[in-house]
Structures are given as structure tokens and as C-alpha cells.
């Protein structure tokens, strides 16, 4: 993975000192809250319902063991002993104090981390495939370009006060695990007819109150032009995006209002002025960054590999966990291991300091000291020898980290909701917990198969409900929490926005409603059809009838 040189270190340290001074000026009254607000937001510090929340960037979801240990230490020292992994591969601390924030940032800087631009109307953390570099079917490691974008976007002088926040995601796999179609810019690494790799560029995807699937504006961008092309898109957006209404300020609205072709023409005109100039990266710099992501030395499967095969045959619990949580690795004899942060009845994405330390230890022992954060709010150990899987599983079990529900109905994405968030209109976490408990029977979950359930506590859609196979949106109706259900959304390479199935359900009824939807699927499915396939085949009608006609 990438490691800082003297310049990266100096820049982050200067940023910490700058923020320390800004906090001091706020504390002694030289800065008003109004003046301080944009400064703290540019350093990831939000004022939530009960406390300051600090969002720390996990660049493209990649962490070292040392970094994860520091995240655990911060949870213990400055928070209540836990952190919350987010849908953008970041971590949030929900109970921090303003006066501690500079020290937290200094601690982060000591392990080459920061909270720069994790909030504010600026370019946010670039996200990627959690299996980057190890997925069997990927074209190349997308993190090379994520790191290039991270550096280019960090403290970019022109794009710090955009009309609205700006999110970029990069994938290099035909199976999109980075949700590139619902980002402001989605970048998909493709191969052209000549066998060269380059970028398909999508713009204008996003969720929020106006969900949209991104449009391709360039089929194949040669790699050397990545930064000039991004700069052209951002400049067109910065100058022309709406600033009169924050709900219409995202780039998706600009692309929609102009039309994809007209938007592309504006970008191309701007690009003509930038191509081959300033922002382009020197080729030697691209190679320098690429070298950090060179594949590690993998071992050939040894004689103990047979033990793994034997354990799979004889230990049903282990075999079930492997089936749900372990993914094929590009290297024979290795595996990608998902660690679910969705235990029965738990808070999706939360991890205690003890758990973070355990995962850091396991990564050191079994996964070349590397960890990934997924946008599904889970963790991944990307480089585990198959021969080590059984002992590792036993260690995970002892830490309560072996829940084998990846991709199943209890692997829920949920935003913090009204338990923490000032924008929320309803709670998300308790609904997630009740659904998780209702479907606790793992046998039943496995029978239901892949089913993505996503919950947002308000229309801003941080819980991605629009792209859940089953989406749940919390709304406020006369000071009572109600939940609207959408069906048929998906965030993968065939991204689609779910449709509202009918009137909302009370908090008491929403879990029953989910069960009705699930039972309808079971009644209607053919063979091995997944929920989403059944829904796409039969449409909303049977679900609607089951939910509303019986009453």
C-alpha cells in the first residue's frame, strides 16, 4: 500500500498545525462559529445532536494494521471505546470534543492518516473496490489511480468551495463493488481494442433526494490524461453548478439540466485548454505511485493445504462461514476474507476498540498486515492463505467477528439516523437491529440468498436506501417515525433506483412488512433466483398485493 514520503508527511503535519490554530482561535473567540464551521468541516468535524463527530478518511478503504490500531486507540482515548465504519469506507467517531480534535489529527498524522476533506463542499475521500488488487477478475489495481486522485484533490485551491460535496469512486472490475454509477464521478478501468487500459468516465450519479444513475461521458480516457480531464469536469461544475438551492447543487442536477451531450461538450472544451498541461502527472510520478501497489510475494500452496480441504468437509460451521464470507482470490492458495460488522442485533458498521485491535492482530498474522473497509460497512482481510483460514475463523469466533452473513439480509447498511444525526427525520439503527434479530436464523438467511437491505433515516440517503434490493427510508409524520419501502434498487454494474412500493409503515409494522416482502419473494422465486432477479422478473405487483391487499 502507499506510504508517505517527506512531502506527504510535511503537508499533513502543516495541516494539523493549521487546524490546531483554527481551533484555538475558535476557543478564544477570535473566530465565530459561523466563520469556524467551514474550517472544521474541511477537517471532517461535524457538530451532531449530542457531540462533535469526527470523520477520518480511510483512503480507498485501505488500512495497515498499525493504522487500525491507532483507530482503536483513538476510540479508547477520545471517544467511548468504539468507532463507526461508513458507506464511504471511512470511520466516524461520534463522541469527540472540539478541544481534542487537533490531538486526534496529530495522532492520525503519526500513522499517515488525516481527516482532510471528509466533509464540506469539496472533493471527498476517493473510494474503491474493497477487493482491489486481489480480485480474480480485475484488470489492474485501481488504488494506483485513487492515490493519484487523493493527492491531486487534497487542498486543491480551486475546488475547496464547490456548489456541493463531490464524491469519486474507482473500480477496475466488471463486477462493480464500488458503486461507481451512483457517484458524482465514477471511473471504471477498461481495456480498449488495442489491449490498453484506460478509463470509462461516468458523471452525475448520486443518491440523496434526487437519485440518479451516472452517465458515461467518455468511453476511454487514456491514463495520462486522468487529472486534466478531472480538472475539466470539476471546473465546469464549479462555474456552472447551482448555488441557489443546496438540494439542486450536486453535479447530477447540472448534468441532467444541460443534458449529457451538452455537458460533455463543455467538459471537452475546457479539457482542450488543460490537456497535456499543468495538472497532468509526470509519468515518473505515476510509476512511483504504482510501485507501492505491486503485488506482494505469494507463497505456493503448501502441504497443509489439504488440511483446509479436510476441514471444509468435516466442519459444517466453518464451511458455512467460508461459503458466505470468503471470496476467491486471484492467487491460487489465497483467499479474501470478509469480517462482518453486522452481528445479530448489532449496530451496522460499529466496531469496538478491542475488535479493531483484534482485526489488526489477525491482519498482521494472516493477511500481510493489510485491512480493507467496505462500503457495505464491513472489514476485509485481503491476503489470507487458505491454509490459515480455519485457525483464523476460530480466532474471529472468539471475538464475535465470525458472523457469516455477508451479502445476506442481515448484512444491512444503515446511516446513524436520529440517534446521532442532526439531519435525520427518523431512527435507522433500531430498525436495522430489529430486522437483524427477526431474521437471526442464519439457515433461513442463507436460504434467502443475496439480499441487500439498506436503511436511511432521512431523504439525504446516507444509508443508500435507493439502491437497496429492499430500501427503507425513515420519514417523520406528525412527530411519529414512519418507514417507506422501496424495492428493486441495486448499486452494482446494473445500477438502478428502487421504486416506492406504497404507503409508509409505522415503526411497529415495518419489520413485518419486510418479512411480507421476503415471503412473497420465497413464494414467487424460481430455482436459484435471487431476490433482485425475482423482483425484476415479476415486478412490484405481487409485493404490493401482499403488503396492502390483505388489510
Amino acid at each position: 500500500m502507499y506510504s508517505y514520503d517527506q512531502y506527504d508527511t510535511q503537508l499533513v503535519n502543516e495541516r494539523v498545525a493549521q487546524f490546531r490554530d483554527q481551533v484555538q482561535r475558535r476557543l478564544d473567540g477570535r473566530l465565530s462559529e459561523e466563520e469556524f464551521r467551514p474550517l472544521r468541516l474541511l477537517n471532517g468535524l461535524y457538530l451532531q445532536l449530542h457531540a462533535y463527530m469526527l470523520r477520518v478518511a480511510v483512503p480507498y478503504g485501505t488500512l495497515s494494521s498499525a493504522q487500525l490500531r491507532m483507530l482503536a486507540q483513538i476510540a479508547r482515548r477520545y471517544d467511548r471505546g468504539y468507532g463507526h465504519f461508513t458507506t464511504r469506507q471511512n470511520i466516524q467517531y461520534n463522541w469527540t470534543k472540539l478541544e481534542d480534535a487537533p490531538d486526534i489529527l496529530a495522532d492520525l498524522a503519526s500513522v499517515e492518516m488525516h481527516a482532510i476533506q471528509t466533509s464540506g463542499n469539496t472533493i471527498r475521500n476517493t473510494t474503491s473496490d474493497p477487493y482491489a488488487g486481489v480480485a480474480a477478475e480485475e484488470l489492474e489495481d485501481p488504488r494506483v489511480y485513487c492515490e493519484i486522485i487523493r493527492q491531486w484533490s487534497t487542498l486543491h485551491p480551486e475546488f475547496t468551495f464547490l456548489p456541493r460535496k463531490f464524491k469519486i469512486a474507482v473500480t477496475a472490475s466488471p463486477n462493480d463493488r464500488a458503486a461507481v454509477k451512483v457517484h458524482d464521478i465514477g471511473i471504471a478501468i477498461r481495456k480498449n481494442a488495442e489491449g490498453e487500459t484506460g478509463f470509462e468516465i461516468l458523471v452525475g450519479g448520486g443518491l440523496g433526494r434526487t437519485p440518479m444513475v451516472g452517465k458515461t461521458i467518455r468511453d476511454f480516457l487514456p491514463k495520462e490524461h486522468l487529472l486534466s480531464y478531472l480538472e475539466a469536469i470539476l471546473r465546469v461544475y464549479n462555474l456552472n453548478g447551482r448555488r441557489d438551492n443546496k438540494y439542486k447543487a450536486r453535479i447530477k442536477i447540472l448534468v441532467h439540466d444541460l443534458g449529457t451531450d451538452a455537458f460533455r461538450e463543455q467538459v471537452d472544451a475546457e479539457w482542450e485548454n488543460l490537456r497535456g498541461k499543468g495538472p497532468e502527472l509526470p509519468p515518473a510520478e505515476m510509476e512511483r505511485i504504482r510501485a507501492f501497489f505491486a503485488p506482494p510475494e505469494y507463497e505456493k500452496p503448501g502441504s497443509n493445504h489439504q488440511d483446509y480441504i479436510e476441514k471444509l468437509r468435516t466442519n459444517a460451521g466453518f464451511a458455512e462461514w467460508v461459503r458466505a464470507n470468503v471470496v476467491e482470490h486471484k492467487q491460487n492458495g489465497y483467499a479474501i476474507v470478509n469480517i462482518s460488522l453486522k452481528p445479530e442485533g448489532g449496530i451496522p458498521g460499529d466496531a469496538t476498540a478491542v475488535q479493531m485491535d483484534s482485526v489488526a492482530d489477525l491482519a498482521e498474522k494472516y493477511s500481510m498486515a493489510e485491512i480493507r473497509v467496505t462500503h457495505q460497512q464491513n472489514l476485509v482481510l485481503p491476503n489470507v492463505r487458505q491454509a490459515d483460514l480455519f485457525v483464523m475463523w476460530e480466532e474471529l469466533r472468539s471475538q464475535g467477528l465470525a458472523t457469516n452473513n455477508i451479502g445476506l439480509i442481515s448484512d444491512i447498511i444503515a446511516c446513524p439516523g436520529l440517534d446521532y444525526c442532526g439531519l435525520a427525520t427518523a431512527r435507522s439503527i433500531p430498525v436495522a437491529q430489529r430486522i437483524s434479530t427477526r431474521f437471526a436464523d442464519l439457515k433461513r438467511q442463507h436460504d434467502l440468498g443475496e439480499l441487500q437491505l439498506k436503511i436511511s433515516g432521512c431523504i439525504n440517503a446516507c444509508g443508500h436506501h435507493h439502491v437497496g434490493h429492499i430500501g427503507i427510508l425513515g420519514v417523520d409524520r406528525n412527530n411519529e417515525e414512519y418507514y417507506q419501502i422501496t424495492l428493486g434498487g441495486r448499486a452494482d454494474e446494473n445500477a438502478a433506483i428502487g421504486k416506492i412500493i406504497g404507503r409508509a409503515f409505522s415503526s411497529d409494522d415495518v419489520v413485518d412488512a419486510v418479512e411480507t416482502v421476503v415471503n412473497t419473494y420465497v413464494d414467487q422465486r424460481q430455482d436459484d433466483e435471487r431476490f433482485i432477479d425475482t423482483y425484476e422478473r415479476i415486478g412490484p405487483k405481487p409485493f404490493k398485493e401482499a403488503l396492502y391487499d390483505a388489510a
Binding site: 512531502y7 483554527q22 491531486w152 485551491p157 475546488f159 471546473r235 485548454n273 515518473a284 510520478e285
Partner: protein, 162 residues
């Protein structure tokens, strides 16, 4: 107001005309973009020293052909959150090679000073109560940048591979 140019407080010698008042002889004047569009030929012929005032709604491209006649471009920041002026300044400096004064006015805050400088601003209208020494300190917070911009400082990638 305090006008800061090249790191030094100076008197503003420019007369910022509204759209009706005639240009006083021998003065250095700025006019709004609208007036510039209507009267640029007459103004250029009048022999006064000229500047134009842009807002985020005005495109730098529209004054590109006139830049030789303009000694000053004032770019307004009605709110510090309105970041359009950063792009306008870079286009003036980098695309058109404009070398006259580019002045930021309006809601110009200490913590944006270095960003503005990097985008090509070289003069700043500061609110009356601003502590100038403190404001200038803000320019020193971050001494490295990853991206080349209008200030032509060497970026980190360029330093790495010098």
C-alpha cells in the same frame, strides 16, 4: 476596507464607478461587467486606466479579448462559500496569461488567503477590522501543494521528479 497587495497594505487608487457616472478624466476606474460590455469601445478610446469588476456569474472568456486594455480585474466573493472566483482567476492567469492585478473583494477570509493566492489573486480587499499581520500569517500555514496552479510554484510531483 484595507487593500492588501503583494503583502502590503496600500491605498486604493482606483475609482469604482457605478453604471451611470461618467469616467473622471485622468483617473483609474473600474466598471461593472455589464457596463464593460456596453461601453468597452468608448472606455478604451477615452484614455483612462481601466479595470473591470466580475462576479461569479460573469465568464472570464467574455473579457479575454480585452485583457490587454485592462490593468485590474476585481472578482467578487459575495459569500466565502461561493467558489466560482477561484476558477475565474485561474482561467485569467493560466489560459489567457493575464498579468495585471487580480483582486478579491467581498467575503475574503484569512483562511482562504493561500487558496486565493494559488489561484492567481494578488490583491485582497479585507474587511475593516482585519488584523493584517495575522491575515498574512495565514499564507504561511501550508507550504506544499500537490497541484500546479496559477502561482507557478513547483508542485510536490514536480519536486519529486526534478
Amino acid at each position: 476596507m484595507t487593500l492588501l497587495k503583494g503583502g502590503t497594505p496600500i491605498e486604493d487608487s482606483w475609482v469604482h464607478l457605478d453604471d451611470e457616472t461618467a469616467a473622471p478624466a485622468g483617473a483609474a476606474i473600474t466598471v461593472s461587467f455589464a457596463r464593460w460590455q456596453a461601453e468597452s469601445e468608448a472606455l478604451k478610446a477615452s484614455g483612462v486606466t481601466l479595470g473591470v469588476r466580475l462576479t461569479g456569474d460573469d465568464a472570464a472568456e467574455e473579457i479575454a479579448d480585452d485583457l490587454n486594455a485592462l490593468q485590474l480585474v476585481v472578482i467578487a466573493f459575495p459569500a466565502f462559500t461561493d467558489g466560482r472566483g477561484y476558477s475565474i482567476a485561474r482561467i485569467l492567469r493560466e489560459r489567457y496569461g493575464y498579468e495585471g492585478e487580480v483582486r478579491a473583494t467581498g467575503n475574503v477570509l484569512r483562511d482562504q488567503a493561500s487558496l486565493m493566492t494559488r489561484c492567481g489573486f494578488d490583491a485582497f480587499d479585507l474587511a475593516a477590522h482585519t488584523d493584517v499581520a495575522d491575515w498574512l500569517e495565514g499564507l504561511k500555514d501550508i507550504t506544499l501543494e500537490y497541484q500546479p496552479a496559477a502561482d507557478r510554484r513547483r508542485s510536490v510531483p514536480q519536486i519529486r521528479h526534478a
